[in-house]
């Protein structure tokens, strides 16, 4: 893999305590192109990384994880001409060693989208409540996608160029994870899932999926289906 054509996108919101570790860990692994999308943070998150060799895109106001991810993807699509994009969370819940694992599986299996699946291994690390909400989200996503998906809400993904061009994220918040899978399947993209390690802390649990997010995901997906032609 040509390292210059591989871009790591990290959407970040109020991660001052964690973003520095994520970025430096990734750089230590030899990845050079890192795009951090600061989604209107109010904790000066970017102060710690502004002198590192990273591209920082700043949202003036908070627009949500989906909006921040799409901003990073748009930059990769239009400015960097990236071949492969890895999306990873800014809260240290993912293991940066898994980037290589995901990219290798992505290339070896000729996938368009590779999802880091948190539930295939290390189930003990996942709090029961989080597991339950994710399973509900998986069911909702599977209904809309028309195919069973096993970790619809994972933030750790790899896109190839085809996926980067085909998938334009329209959902601003957590429902973008479901949207990516639905659009991927609609566009006949090859989607694979690779087991990843995940580490939850009280902070990451507080920020992630909860019941209302699930309801919101359902309403937004329903709205997208009903007003699909209008949105396009």
């Amino acid at each position: 893999m040509d390292q210059d054509k591989l871009v790591i996108v990290i959407p970040s919101y109020n991660e001052a305590d964690r973003i520095l570790k994520v970025v430096t860990d990734i750089q230590r692994k030899g990845y050079r192109k890192i795009v951090v999308v600061d989604d209107g943070s109010t904790d000066n998150s970017m102060e710690g990384i502004k002198d590192l060799n990273v591209i920082i895109l700043q949202h003036l106001v908070n627009r949500g994880a989906g909006a921040a991810t799409e901003t990073g993807l748009k930059y990769c699509r239009t400015i960097l001409d990236a071949e492969t994009v890895v999306m990873i969370d800014a809260d240290t819940q993912h293991n940066v060693d898994d980037i290589r694992k995901l990219v290798e599986a992505h290339e070896n299996q000729n996938a368009d989208i590779t999802i880091g699946n948190r539930f295939l291994e290390n189930k003990k690390n996942i709090p029961a409540k989080r597991w339950f909400y994710n399973q509900i989200a998986n069911i909702v996503t599977s209904i809309f996608a028309g195919k069973r998906v096993y970790d619809s809400q994972s933030g750790f993904k790899v896109f190839n160029k085809k996926a980067l061009q085909k998938i334009i994220i329209e959902q601003d918040r957590f429902e973008h994870c479901s949207e990516i899978l639905i659009k991927g399947l609609e566009n006949n993209l090859k989607i694979i899932e690779v087991p990843i390690k995940v580490y939850y802390t009280p902070e990451t649990i507080a920020k992630g999926q909860h019941f209302l997010n699930g309801v919101r995901t359902f309403v937004h997906l329903l709205h997208s289906v009903l007003f699909k032609n209008k949105q396009k």
């Binding site: 949202h59 003036l60 106001v61 627009r63 909006a67 601003d172 309403v219 937004h220 709205h223």
Partner: protein, 115 residues
């Protein structure tokens, strides 16, 4: 005839004229205009023929008590309007996100140019 049977249709007529003006100015979409015309017409008709309309609705949808029929229809309209409101809010949010994104990308390319 009671006073509300004059006032409500008059308000309905004003509402319809206002909606059509909004449509001609390009502010409302065709769907929104149609929805508002139907809504105002329905409210006006209920005011002019309260018994006939409510009885017709309750018989058509099979609800015995015609007051419940009106409540049912009211809830349905309220749900529809809420969904339209959600749609409009979503459009506003989308526009805001696009703006924020554009500014972020412009600022980034501007700082890259300076480097």
């Amino acid at each position: 005839m009671r006073i509300y049977q004059i006032i409500v249709p008059l308000l309905g007529l004003i509402g319809i004229v206002f909606t059509m003006r909004q449509f001609s100015k390009g502010i409302n979409t065709f769907f929104e205009t149609l929805l508002w015309i139907l809504l105002w017409s329905f409210i006006s008709l209920v005011a002019i023929f309260p018994d006939a309309i409510t009885l017709f609705i309750s018989e058509t949808i099979g609800i015995k008590d015609h007051i419940n029929g009106i409540i049912f229809i009211g809830l349905a309209i309220s749900f529809l309007l809420n969904f339209k409101l959600f749609d409009s809010l979503k459009k506003q949010n989308k526009a805001l996100t696009e703006l924020v994104r554009k500014l972020a990308l412009e600022k980034a390319s501007h700082s890259n140019d300076k480097k």
